[in-house]
Symmetry: C2
Subunit: 514 residues, 2 copies
């Protein structure tokens, strides 16, 4: 058992932090609530970005960049938005620092700004302002823009990746001619997120609609994908908002229609963030550390040589080269040899387009430490090659997910073989998470039943419910649970609301959430 | 002549803005000094990022992300750095906005912070602080990290891409065991920048060292690549700094050496920014608008169909499909057909890895307007296909750079043919810019000669000079010119300083700079 990682059963929160530290994914920074995403963590974010960006472009979107700072007056323009976003944020009030004459070595703010600026908590307002200038006629529509950037929301209780003051995300912002097109776009992007979560992160999700009290401040409707973590808490992994004409009216985004009349556009916004890395960790990792889904693994296989003498090292090296040639081709092996340093980790592209690599760990440390190193980083597979293995023409193949070991003959190895293994692992991870999720969706017919489930088991509770701010607030007070979503798959008909007993047409999913 | 673009000879500054507006690369934003990078401009930045990122990774670097906000006390730690960077910056002083009871609809700052935070102008200080925690022994070195992010420096006089309060950039930050390794790294990255500028942006550059008065605040030595713009002004396109032990001492980044002694690491930093897009525009564009170097062109060829009847449209469409199949393959043509909307611009991957596309402009507007549209966006090539061309089995091939036209037989067309044309265009752009640059490097033997050159011709002036803060300040006052760099290719021997007459070993390049 890993000494530097607290088991989940003992302290789930500590386990989460320990897994992140052991894999060197992130660190707290000296600025309260802000994190440093270390190279191992950022490489996963890059893999997420690459895949999502491709999906956004395939659905017709382009990227752009809007200013970090937003005038306070913009936030004040949309009535619901101001309540939800304007309050807890970083406010820029000065444009200079100057030396404090009274305190040597201390700098103090100078040159106050006329109007305070806020570091964007989200960019509907700034982008709305710009769209108002760009859109003249229906010919300028739709606008399908996405932005990859940093945002800030001043959070008091922070948790690495899941809730930090500053985080990285993408925010899509689109403008359409008709409400139907806006709705189609909102659902299209929800589907993109759901497909991404399942096909890439191996996280099964439930698609649904938010209740009034949980929706985005300024949206007509918010849709979401909800995932279940191993401790039975839910995590919102992505949201897509139909903003109706709320922002187009607040920012006066008008166009001359086909009917020659001026009218306001219909807008949407949708986003996912570095929170996905938190979801990925909590959905898949185990007491030994991180387990990375193969599609976003920066390293797909680590090869650990074992030898005691220079002769053995040479023998092992030659054999590893055979494996490498089979996996990445002779050309790549030669290219790495050319740019390689004498010592350290040699890194070979397995899939250049997605920056996935195979590494050979030639560092001067004990094979056991190396195994441990790659295991805690969640690398899908490890190959162990010692002199005896070479004699048998085989190596030890270790799978991170089930921690199984097997001997593999070098003749079996090819890029297609490894890709097949990676696909199998993806499927196994998804199936495992889906089984856990399905086992943890429970039906409650009464509020007492639901309370008992949250007290003893956690997970999702599915129940008839008539959404209302008051009822949801009371339920949250008493159980900590919230309505995660009104799932798309409704049974039809009606039932009795679990809380009020009123007849209702909606079934919802409750859970305690991150 | 383009009606919406002022010719360079009449008003170079206006021409620059007009080119950007006509190509829809960027816009000013409602926040003073901040710009919006529009999709056409951002696509060029993405191409720049893709290529540079590959070069960084090939030289062993990894990406990470550090916080946006930096405590004022960090900036105050390094003596030179504080003078250079702490002063003009965005200062965050509050963590909340609240409704102003006296002014309805207005939000005012609340919850003052204990210590003011600054939006990063550059991240040496924050990264230095983190490296101090990550580095224990020589085994942890080198650290080779790069960050892609936004930064802010409060600029009074701004210019789209070239000088804005907020801009996007990458900043590399490395830590090494020895001064030799740090120096090697500093020069390696300068070479990466120079190769990128020439091989990708087709901008010839001069490599050199900055004088004391022009170097980065906190660096031992700053190296740079300098380019010449069409108006005879120089532009610093990238810098690489050897920071010695200045930051490692200020932030106490220590390691246990091979000699079992604690010592400070040696650090470097290096960066390029969205300024490169400004350089690209000013180096290559003409009075008709933008000219994009082929390696970063999001669209490499625009195909404009010409027809007057549905029959002609069908005939032209069939012919264009032949061209497309020859350029991108039948599979890609089918894939686009599958996801295509009925109208608008169809977009085919020419090179998926670098996101370069071929577009066919089926929009409902006049062929002349379409030609104009793609010409002003600087697309390297356009193909015009009308019914008569189809009869001849050929199309009109227009080159953006020299505005030439030629008939090309469809049988000649292939991906390799187009790639060849793009390579030719790259070479022609580079050669044209290099010729201009070489014609505008002039020697001055006396200060009077140099003054006359700056008054009449501009460009670079090469002269013997003994760098000193005083002399450089006076020369800048009198001529607006600064020492751009001490070029690496020195003649050897000594000469008389153009300003003081003293014997000196250094030749420098002077220019008026952006």
């Amino acid at each position: 058992m890993a000494k530097n990682i607290k088991p989940r059963a003992q302290d789930y929160n500590q386990w989460y932090i320990d897994v992140i530290k052991a894999a060197q994914l992130a660190d707290y920074s000296p600025v309260k609530g802000c994190m440093v995403i270390r190279p191992e963590g950022y490489a996963i974010w890059e893999a997420i970005q690459r895949d999502l960006d491709r999906r956004f472009k395939e659905t017709g979107h382009v990227n752009a960049y809007f200013p970090l700072l937003i005038p306070q007056s913009f936030l004040a323009k949309e009535a619901q938005h101001v309540e939800g976003f304007a309050m807890e944020c970083a406010v820029v009030t000065h444009s200079r620092l100057e030396k404090d004459p009274n305190k040597p070595g201390v700098l103090k703010p100078a040159s106050p700004l006329e109007e305070p600026l806020v570091i964007r908590p989200t960019s509907e307002t700034m982008i709305g302002h710009m769209y108002a200038q760009w859109v003249q006629s229906y010919r300028d529509l739709p606008i399908l823009i996405n932005q990859w950037c940093n945002v800030m929301r001043w959070e008091m209780r922070t948790r690495l990746f899941l809730r930090t003051a500053e985080f990285l995300w993408q925010e899509g912002h689109t403008a359409h001619e008709t409400p139907e097109e806006a709705q189609e776009e909102t659902l299209r992007m929800l589907d993109v997120y759901a497909a991404f979560a399942e096909e890439v992160l191996a996280i099964p999700v439930v698609k649904g609609e938010k209740t009034e009290s949980e929706k985005f401040p300024g949206a007509d409707t918010t849709y979401c994908i909800e995932a279940l973590m191993q401790d039975g808490k839910a995590l919102q992994a992505g949201t897509s908002h139909n903003l109706g004409q709320n922002f187009s009216k607040a920012f006066d985004i008008k166009y001359l229609g086909r009917d020659q009349k001026q009218q306001h556009v219909w807008t949407t916004s949708w986003g996912v963030s570095t929170r996905l890395i938190g979801a990925m960790i909590m959905a898949h990792s185990d007491d030994e550390g991180l387990v990375v889904p193969p599609k976003v693994a920066p390293v797909v296989t680590a090869i650990v040589p074992i030898f005691k003498s220079p002769e053995e090292a040479a023998k092992v090296r030659e054999f590893i080269e055979k494996i490498l040639v089979a996996l990445v081709g002779a050309e790549e092996v030669a290219a790495v040899a050319k740019r390689a340093k004498a010592e350290g980790i040699a890194s070979y592209f397995f899939d250049k387009a997605s920056d996935q690599r195979i590494v050979v760990d030639w560092r001067d440390s004990r094979p056991g430490d190396k195994q441990y190193h790659w295991e805690q980083r969640g690398v899908p597979f490890r190959m162990e090659v010692g002199p005896r293995d070479v004699d048998g023409g085989a190596f030890v193949f270790k799978q991170r997910l089930d921690r199984s070991k097997a001997m593999v003959q070098v003749g079996e190895v090819s890029a297609a073989w490894l890709r097949g293994k990676l696909d199998e692992m993806h499927k196994a991870m998804f199936d495992k998470a889906a089984k856990f999720r399905d086992e943890n969706i429970r039906r409650a017919e009464t509020y007492a039943q639901m309370k008992e489930i949250f007290e003893t088991k956690g997970g999702f509770v599915r129940a008839w419910f008539k959404p209302s701010r008051e009822a949801e607030a009371k339920i949250k007070d008493e159980t900590k649970a919230t309505v995660r979503c009104i799932p798309f798959d409704q049974p039809g008909g009606t039932g009795k609301c679990i809380f009020t007993g009123e007849e209702t047409e909606t079934e919802v999913l409750f859970a305690v959430a991150y």
